[in-house]
């Protein structure tokens, strides 16, 4: 205290005496701990591990088991350094010791070096040293550190350990137990981070090995991360095995567009072919982790089924043609539609697959043409109005006192967000209140789980807030609502009604929209959002089905696959006079198009994407486009140029590079002013755009209570379904879920339905036959069917019994 006072008076007198700028004494950081590292005094943070502090200050300590995103186990002993805390220097594992004041750390002493060399010699004793044929060779921490910190030669002359190798532990991951150094990284990840404790050590001592449980493969949505963090070549991923050597890979950082979490990845390619994605440790988003759909979805890019040239419908069907004639056909169709039906007879569906620039260019063109029917969602999301609520970031959700999860199973739809929320709940940083129709991946981490009848979430929320314990918890800190569509067989109005209840009860609550399509937030924000509910995707399809649409433009949209109401989609595509489809793959919908334009896929075009938080990050252009395909924005720009007599001089028509589009976007779209091409390039963590305040349009109505003769249908996404990106990726296509009616065992018992037996789900409209799966995670009274699942039984598809306008879908179940 007294010292502080003296300093202050001295400072004051100095200022009085001479009029020079005296640097104010910096406040001593209460979290700073000064330690001595290799003889120099450095500042560490309270609670920081010695290994992290040393690395931050330029003294790299070799390690294998330590991973900054997981708890330390001190297993490999490679990070031993001499630490002196007043009792003389002792060898200590620096991954387990936190810094303390006046600690002396020596990472270069003879004892440290001897210990590190000894440890590497021991690690290599039973390692097969098959680096020339190992995928990891060239990027292998064991190889690298054997060179940098190893003894140079081995004195081990005994027979090495032998195991059968490699053995597949799942469809995607192979295990080589001879290479394994038992660092516990993969097993710790599976247990701590992913919550899929399916791999563990078996045997002991020298025979210890990583293994799955008998007859239980390592089926985890996050298994690819274990391959990435494996410090040797013990775990390899099937899609990348023997495809390249690391030194042949060129790489570029990018943002995954597999879903809207916006994980940072590095795209690695060789010979102009994308061969691997790896997670990049992005502090605000994915912490280095990826889901397997994101990680292994790259295989679709080089699929032989990609659309490579434009096609126009002739007498003999879709015929390949030149871009010139295809574009002429497209402008012809637009002019014809404008003439015969005016702008209200043209509709634009899709746009969430592309970049912000793609969506912006198409929105500008649509504005120019006066198109009102537009929607980047396909009736599978929520009204764009939720983006007008105060937005939360993922970090804010993970540190909020309470997270109210009103929506889908994030484990199935937004993998990395699931990992973040799970981690936050596990660390006790936040409490999760889950409102979902059935158990989700986060149920065992949730503080409270509510299982309202589908469609009746709003009543559940009202009851919830009436509970004094809940009210106390809500009042104790920030509240973040993670909101999305939990059930495709119910109207989004139910979710919106519940959301209104929450926002009314907790006006300070912020919202993290859990909409899943790649760049749906970006597309909605930059101008593709429908003006009102009368012009959204469902309304558009109804108009088309009613013959009111002359031209339906599908911008990377496949309504026949993605619209929950399959019957409506089918009628709409049949009812639209003409269809232009811009897509990367031939889909059920492109087959009905009159003009098909091949689009450049992810990694084939530059730009930016917006994630659920509103974080705009860059998307890298790594490989050349497949065939003659073009980015969506380029197609829009060319159309704008061709149609300048109608749309006038649109600035996008003059753009010659994607950067120009980005800058145009920044200058045009409210809230995006900071998102210049230069800023996107510069900011590693992207630029978070602010939400544009608006009101939730209408509260929406609740569904009625289920009658006891019927079951309420819940249809939602699994991570792997028949979506084209999954189906075209060789590795993950095998994981696609098969169609089945999942029932609670007691309900099935009551019905007399057994596992595997067929049941017919009957609505007023239609029926579908599905095999039964008994699943205790399903709430009683519900029947759950995965959306867009593959079926080889010919019993129909569940999407055909969903009515997009019904509040909920109640089904009668007939046991066959």
């Amino acid at each position: 205290m007294s010292e502080d006072v003296t300093t202050e008076t001295e400072d004051a007198s100095a200022e009085d005496d001479v009029a020079v700028d005296v640097e104010p004494e910096p406040e001593p950081d209460p979290n700073a701990v000064t330690i001595e590292l290799n003889g120099r005094s450095v500042e560490a943070r309270k609670g920081e591990l010695v290994i992290a502090a040393a690395e931050r200050h330029g003294s790299y300590i070799p390690h294998f088991c330590y991973h900054p995103r997981m708890s330390s186990v001190g297993m490999c002993r490679q990070c031993l350094v001499e630490v002196d805390t007043g009792r003389g220097p002792q060898l200590q594992p620096s991954c387990m010791i936190t810094v303390s004041p006046d600690m002396k750390v020596d990472t270069e002493s003879a004892t440290t070096k001897r210990a590190q060399e000894g440890m590497l010699e021991l690690l290599l004793a039973n390692h097969p040293l098959d680096c020339p044929v190992c995928d990891k060779g060239g990027e292998c921490p064991l190889q690298d550190q054997a060179f940098s910190h190893g003894p140079g030669e081995s004195r081990y002359v005994e027979e090495k350990r032998h195991y059968e190798k490699p053995i597949p532990i799942s469809e995607l991951v192979l295990l080589d137990r001879e290479r394994c150094i038992l660092c516990d990284r993969c097993t710790r990840f599976a247990d701590e981070v992913a919550g899929d404790k399916l791999i563990h050590f078996i045997e002991r001592g020298n025979q210890t090995q990583v293994m799955t449980f008998p007859d239980e493969p390592f089926v985890s949505y996050f298994s690819g991360n274990t391959v990435q963090i494996c410090p040797v070549g013990a775990l390899t991923a099937e899609p990348y095995r023997f495809k390249a050597r690391p030194w042949d890979l060129g790489q570029q950082e990018s943002t995954c567009m597999g879903c809207s979490t916006g994980c940072r990845i590095v795209v690695q390619s060789s010979r102009d072919e994308v061969l691997r994605y790896n997670g990049v440790d992005s502090e605000p988003v994915n912490h280095g982790w990826l889901c397997d759909r994101g990680r292994f979805g790259f295989e679709a890019l080089s699929s032989e089924h990609r659309l490579t040239e434009p096609m126009v419908r002739t007498d003999v069907g879709l015929t390949p043609t030149s871009w010139t004639s295809a574009m002429a056909a497209t402008t012809g169709l637009i002019r014809q539609a404008l003439e015969s039906g005016g702008p209200s007879s043209i509709a634009l569906i899709g746009g969430a697959r592309g970049t912000n620039e793609d969506a912006f260019a198409w929105a500008q063109l649509a504005d120019g043409l006066g198109i009102e029917f537009r929607d980047p969602q396909l009736g599978d999301g929520l009204p764009a109005a939720i983006l007008g609520l105060p937005r939360a970031t993922i970090d804010e959700a993970c540190s909020a006192g309470t997270v109210i999860l009103l929506g889908p199973d994030v484990k199935e739809e937004l993998g990395a967000l699931y990992l973040r929320l799970r981690g936050a709940a596990r660390d006790g940083a936040t409490k999760i209140i889950e409102i979902a129709p059935n158990d989700t991946g986060l149920t065992n981490m949730a503080w409270k789980s509510l299982r309202p009848q589908p469609g009746r979430q709003a009543s559940a929320v009202r009851e919830l807030f009436a509970d004094p314990e809940i009210a106390e918890q809500i009042a104790s800190g920030d509240v973040v609502v993670v909101v999305g569509r939990s059930n495709l067989a119910e109207s989004p109005a139910a979710t919106m009604a519940a959301l209104s209840e929450i926002v009314e009860a907790v006006p300070t609550a912020t919202v993290l929209p859990a909409l899943r399509r790649g760049n749906v937030i970006g597309a909605l924000s930059v101008g593709l959002a429908p003006a009102d509910a009368d012009h959204d995707a469902i309304a558009t399809l109804e108009a088309a089905a009613g013959g009111k649409i002359e031209l339906l433009i599908l911008l990377g949209a496949d309504p026949l696959c993605d619209v929950p109401d399959h019957d409506l989609a089918r009628r709409a595509l049949a009812g639209a006079r003409s269809i232009v489809s811009i897509d990367t793959f031939p889909t059920e919908s492109t087959r009905q198009a009159d003009v098909v334009l091949p689009a450049a896929a992810f990694t084939e075009k530059a730009g930016s994407t917006t994630n659920i938080e509103g974080r705009v990050n860059d998307v890298a252009h790594r490989v050349t486009t497949k065939g003659t395909s073009r980015p969506d924005w380029m197609i829009a720009a060319e159309l704008a140029l061709d149609l300048d007599d109608i749309v006038g001089d649109l600035p996008i028509a003059m753009a010659t590079s994607v950067e120009e589009i980005t800058d145009l976007l920044a200058a045009t779209v409210p809230g995006f002013a900071a998102v210049t091409s230069e800023a996107v390039e510069r900011e590693v963590d992207g630029v978070v755009v602010e939400s544009q305040p608006s009101d939730l349009a209408d509260r929406g109505d609740e569904a009625s209570v289920r009658n006891s003769y019927s079951y309420r249908l819940v249809v939602s996404h699994k991570m792997f379904d028949r979506a084209i990106g999954t189906a075209m990726s060789r590795g993950i296509s095998k994981l696609s879920v098969s169609a089945a009616a999942h029932l609670h065992p007691l309900d099935a018992d009551q019905l007399g339905a057994g596992e595997g037996g067929d049941v017919r789900l009957v609505t007023d409209r239609s029926s579908v036959v599905l095999p039964v799966v008994l699943d205790p995670r399903i709430e009683r009274g519900n029947v759950w069917v995965p959306f867009n699942a593959s079926s080889d039984q010919g019993g129909g598809r569940v999407e055909s019994i969903i009515d997009a306008r019904a509040a909920v879908t109640d089904v009668k179940i007939e046991v066959l």
Partner: protein, 468 residues
């Protein structure tokens, strides 16, 4: 006085009625493990007195008694109890009955012959240290101990000594008997906690996992050895003054020593701390009564399989922790293993290194890889295929497990000075160093015997590391 075990291979136990008896007094009775016999011989009096004087006074008694833990480290039990943070509930007592150190079988006798004494000890500990539940972890191979403790627990529950409202007071505690699955490393307290939790028996690193702070299920936990707890009924019944009157000032009381190997009368002996030398133990009439066939003594292990060896030079050291450390070894679990002049030293070392390599849990690299490497080398030497280079290689591998000077005994014959205990280690627990310590002292003290088994090594071509 001898008493035979209930089955043939139980080593005989021998007891000198003249010396102070603390916890082996009931052993001679055939029915020593029954509640009736226990009550007849003053059983549960300690518990009654503890309940009378209250928990504070009772834990004070234990602190004053300076009762040292008998698991190997020799830390004062009363002080250990004090490490638990206040006001954190629940908190547990875990009894380490996973006695697996080669040559050690004292806890087994305590559990087989006098289970009620252990149960009473547990109750007193829970009462004095304020612990809410007790887990009794018994080594998986000790079927009889498990059976007897289970029977004793049934009796004690029925008689109201364990359970709710013990002896009419508001003190309640449950004792849960848990059967181990057969791993030496689980004798290490953090590995034992992992095993109790249903995980693999792998040690946790201290810090941060000091059981007193973060133990079983993340709660404060006291882990005590069976023998430590068996002392408590005596202390509770007779007071700390009576206890400290026995033994030395720094290590009061008595302790049990298991003597095995080439002696005439192997067995477990209760000795008064500080009063007995190794010579007494091995040659004394009250104890092992000398070497078999009156052979010469070649070497002996003073404190369980993991301790560095002693030579006849060290026979006159008293059985006391500090003296043993200064002489280059440790008393550990209190097991003396005697090797006479007929012993093939490399083979004896092989037996021990094989055990520790086999028992490595696989967590730390030096133990997992180094232990097996050492085993391979010693195996090769013993099968006649070793070279002189192998002998130095043993010490090199050992340096990766125990860097720096290794403790060993002094030897007049070799002109060696003693290097005091302990060693430094690169592993979490003592299993790794335990694989090396015996082979190191064997090689240091009997290098000639190893050299007799190996042939000169062929010239090694040293390949220079390429210079960039």
């Amino acid at each position: 006085m001898t008493a035979q075990g209930s089955y043939a291979w139980t080593p005989g136990y021998f007891y000198d009625w003249e010396s102070t008896e603390i916890f082996t007094g009931r052993f001679p009775y055939e029915d020593s493990y029954t509640l009736d016999r226990y009550l007849e011989t003053g059983g549960y009096e300690g518990l009654k007195r503890a309940l009378e004087i209250g928990p504070e006074a009772m834990s004070g008694e234990v602190k004053d008694s300076t009762l040292l833990g008998r698991g190997g480290a020799g830390f004062p039990a009363g002080v250990k109890w004090g490490f638990t943070p206040q006001g954190v509930w629940p908190r547990y007592l875990v009894v380490n009955g996973d006695e697996s150190e080669p040559g050690t079988y004292k806890d087994r006798l305590l559990m087989e012959r006098d289970p009620h004494q252990l149960i009473e000890g547990c109750l007193i500990a829970c009462y004095a240290a304020g612990l809410s539940q007790c887990f009794l972890y018994v080594r998986g191979e000790m079927a009889l101990a498990h059976e007897r403790i289970a029977g004793a627990l049934d009796e004690a529950y029925a008689a109201g000594y364990v359970g709710t409202d013990i002896l009419g007071t508001d003190f309640s505690v449950d004792i849960i008997l848990h059967w181990g699955a057969g791993a030496y490393v689980v004798g290490e307290e953090t590995a034992l906690i992992e095993s109790l939790e249903g995980e693999r028996g792998m040690p946790r690193l201290k810090p941060p996992y000091f059981p007193a702070a973060i133990g079983l299920y993340g709660q404060p936990t006291i882990v005590n050895n069976v023998e430590t707890l068996a002392n408590l009924p005596y202390i509770a019944a007779n007071g700390s003054a009576a206890y400290t009157a026995i033994g030395t000032e720094t290590s009061p009381g008595t302790r049990m020593i298991a003597v095995s190997g080439h002696v005439k009368r192997p067995g477990v002996y209760e000795i008064v701390n500080g009063s007995t030398t190794f010579r007494d133990l091995i040659y004394g009439d009250d104890f092992a009564q000398g070497i078999r066939d009156d052979n010469d003594l070649k070497a002996f292990v003073p404190g369980g399989g993991s301790a560095p060896w002693f030579l006849p030079d060290q026979l006159d050291i008293p059985f006391e922790g500090k003296e043993a450390s200064a002489a280059g070894s440790m008393l550990g679990s209190g097991a003396v293993m005697v090797m006479d002049s007929t012993t093939d030293i490399p083979e004896a070392a092989l037996t021990l290194v094989r055990f520790y390599a086999h028992e490595s849990c696989g967590k730390c690299v030096p133990c997992r890889e180094g232990g097996t490497w050492l085993l391979r080398i010693v195996e090769r030497i013993c099968s006649g295929h070793g070279t002189t280079a192998d002998l130095d290689q043993i010490l090199e591998v050992g340096q990766s497990i125990c860097p720096g000077d290794m403790p060993h005994a002094s030897s007049e014959r070799l002109g060696l000075e003693a290097v005091p205990f302990p060693y430094k280690m690169t592993t979490i627990c003592f299993v790794g160093p335990s694989a090396y310590a015996p082979i190191h002292s064997a090689l240091t003290l009997f290098r000639d015997e190893f050299e007799a088994k190996v042939s000169p090594s062929p010239k090694r071509v040293r390949i220079p590391v390429a210079v960039a």
